[in-house]
């Protein structure tokens, strides 16, 4: 039976291949050979198709057979999949959404083509442009200038885990129809003799129009915190490429486990807020402008499925986990940091007490 997993191996020396973020090619860790994505795609097309077919067959068999009391079925019930590494034969225990990983024994990058084929195949991918070293440097830079960061956190803290992950995203096209009315005033004040004359003109302002949105993203992985994924936006879509498994070796990847419908509220809210802001921004030349009525409608268009590159850095401080995410394309890094109460108090006292002394001297 064909393996459900594919190892991308060097055609020259059979060493493991990984996608080079700087070169944009697949590189061999052993002989240093480089291959274009298209070359590897052509070489592994048959292998990937066989692995996808094996994966589909395995699923069909599991559905057809009654639930046997086997370790495989226990794992399935727990949302876990068990594969065999084609390189060393070791068992790979993965989440049911895992699409790309590395063998913990031989470190060979392993792809599960069945997770990203047919209906589950992403439309686009943005390849990694930044590597692990860039992520570590970005995190150190991120610590700088943070006045309330505990010294021990930046001095002694070590990154416990760092991994490059292709995170599944839904990219929504759509448009927002907005019809809004406002009450506006223009106020003129003239002083004549001993009188101040204030003239107020009242206007009814009406705006109606459409705002088109392209590829508004929402992460499609329940494992990824929404706030982290939102905060590392935006990605440069000019580098979107048609999806290929050949971009995945060397990184982790998940297939989506959040349906597009579950993202509608988030996406609609963002689009609506922006459309309202733009519409309001066209009202100018008034002393005041008060919204009166608005009718907003969202029309959804095409939804695309894409894998976008994210570096995840995890650390632990005082028994609490801290997760940082870096955009693997632009390098934007975000994450919540611990706050030193002592430093916060010192800053508070350092500002408040001298000001109190100054005010006392001025008033007394």
């Amino acid at each position: 039976m064909a393996s459900q997993i594919t190892n991308y191996q060097c055609p020259s020396c059979t060493g493991p291949l990984h996608y080079g973020d700087k070169s944009g090619m697949l590189e061999c860790d052993y002989c240093g050979s480089r291959f274009t994505v298209q070359e590897i795609e052509a070489l592994y097309r048959e292998k990937d198709e066989a692995a996808a077919a094996a994966s589909a067959a395995a699923q069909a068999q599991q559905q057809a057979e009654p639930e046997a009391d086997t370790p495989e079925n226990w794992a399935k019930d727990a949302g876990i999949r068990v594969y065999n590494c084609p390189s060393c034969g070791a068992e790979l225990i993965c989440d049911e959404t895992t699409a790309a990983t590395s063998c913990p024994y031989c470190n060979n990058p392993s792809i599960v083509p069945g997770q990203l084929s047919d209906m589950l195949k992403p439309d686009y991918v943005i390849p990694f442009k930044l590597n692990k070293d860039d992520a570590i440097k970005a995190l150190k830079d991120y610590y700088r200038g943070k006045k309330l960061l505990p010294k021990a956190f930046s001095d002694k803290n070590h990154i416990e885990e760092i991994k490059g992950v292709y995170v599944p995203f839904w990219l929504f096209d759509g448009e927002v129809d907005a019809d809004m009315s406002f009450q506006g005033t223009r106020v003129h004040t003239v002083t004549t003799g001993n009188e101040v004359i204030t003239t107020t003109d009242y206007y009814r302002i009406h705006r109606s129009g459409v705002v088109d949105f392209d590829k508004l993203p929402a992460d499609a992985s329940s494992k990824m915190p929404d706030a982290h994924m939102d905060a590392i936006e935006p990605y440069d879509y000019s580098e979107l490429k048609p999806f290929s498994n050949a971009y995945l070796p060397g990184f982790m990847a998940d297939k989506y486990d959040v349906e597009p419908e579950s993202c509608y509220d988030r996406v609609d809210e963002r689009a609506t807020n922006t459309a309202v802001e733009m519409m309001t921004g066209t009202v100018s030349g008034f002393s005041s402008c008060t919204p009166e009525n608005r009718r907003i409608g969202v029309r959804r268009g095409k939804t695309s499925y894409a894998l976008l590159p994210v570096w995840l850095l995890a650390t632990n401080y005082n028994g609490k986990n801290y997760l940082f995410a870096m955009n693997g394309q632009t390098g934007k890094l975000i994450g919540d940091l611990p706050v030193s109460s002592g430093r916060a108090l010192a800053w508070f006292a350092g500002i408040a007490l001298p000001l109190m002394a100054l005010l006392t001297a001025l008033l007394y």
């Binding site: 009188e195 109606s208 706030a227 963002r270 919540d336 940091l337 706050v339 800053w347 007490l353």
Partner: protein
């Protein structure tokens, strides 16, 4: 009603004009004028001579008028009486009509010191008039009229001499003594720095939390952007309000810690210091 008022005014003017006639003088007052007989003729002449000397030396008339009861001449108070006398008899020296008049009303033992003119008001400050009255009130209270008037004239000379030298007798009124901090001020002293410090520390704290959900989508607007299908600003109505211009409050520079007493001059150009003797 108007006729009664007019009649009253005419009567008062006639009475005022009758003052020197009653004394058998011309329609012009001397420096010292006693219509009650508290001064002998010699004493009055001597005082008049002394007052004339001081007046001419400094270009500022020093006058005395003594009546039994000022209420028989004018409506209003003692100050009105002094001003009416001063104006009716065109008292004062030079074009500025500078001068000071001491009026005594014997029945109620009222007195009024009334200064007029730029130099008169400059020389006889509020504080100066207060010091001046101290020099004659003790005499008057002992019915030493001649002594009181003599002191008055002499000290008018002293005050005028100081004013001539650019140093009129005036006082420095210090600000009220430093006071304690009120509860309202204490609130400001505590609350304002705490709010500012809190705002700064909150800003620092916000830097520590960057994993936040997006609420906008401006990065994903297509090239066509916003396409407006209707854009209208329709005039509805107009309202006009009128308010009087707020009066500006004077806020000239003052020396720190207090202010000069100066002279309080009324709209008629007179300054007064009144009381009982």
């Amino acid at each position: 009603m108007k006729k009664r008022l007019l009649a009253c005014l005419l009567l008062c003017t006639a009475l005022l004009l009758a003052l020197p006639l009653a004394a058998g003088a011309e329609a012009k007052l001397d420096y010292v004028n006693d219509y009650t007989g508290i001064l002998s003729a010699e004493t009055r002449d001597a005082l008049n001579t002394k007052a004339a000397q001081v007046s001419q030396q400094y270009g500022c008339g020093v006058y005395v008028v003594v009546v039994d009861d000022y209420k028989g001449y004018v409506n209003g108070g003692m100050e009105n009486f002094s001003e009416a006398i001063y104006k009716t008899y065109e008292l004062g020296e030079g074009e500025g009509k500078n001068g000071i008049l001491l009026s005594l009303s014997m029945n109620d033992r009222d007195f009024d010191l009334c200064a007029y003119g730029d130099f008169g008001n400059y020389a006889f400050t509020d504080y100066g008039k207060g010091q001046l009255e101290n020099t004659f009130l003790d005499n008057f209270r002992a019915d030493d009229w001649a002594g009181g008037f003599a002191d008055y004239i002499d000290n008018c000379g002293v005050l005028l001499a100081r004013a001539k030298n650019g140093d009129p007798l005036d006082t420095w009124i210090p600000d009220p003594a430093p006071r304690g901090i009120t509860p309202g001020e204490a609130m400001i002293i505590i609350a304002v720095p705490c709010l500012l410090a809190g705002a700064v520390v909150s800003g620092f704290k916000r830097q520590m939390k960057t994993a936040v959900k997006q609420t906008r989508a401006e990065n994903y607007i297509s090239h066509s952007g916003l396409q407006l299908s209707d854009r209208s600003d329709q005039f509805i109505n107009r309202s006009v309000t009128r308010h009087p211009v707020p009066k500006a409050t004077s806020s000239g520079p003052r020396p720190s810690g207090g202010h000069a007493g100066g002279t309080t001059v009324n709209s008629g150009g007179f300054s007064h210091h009144s009381g009982k003797f």
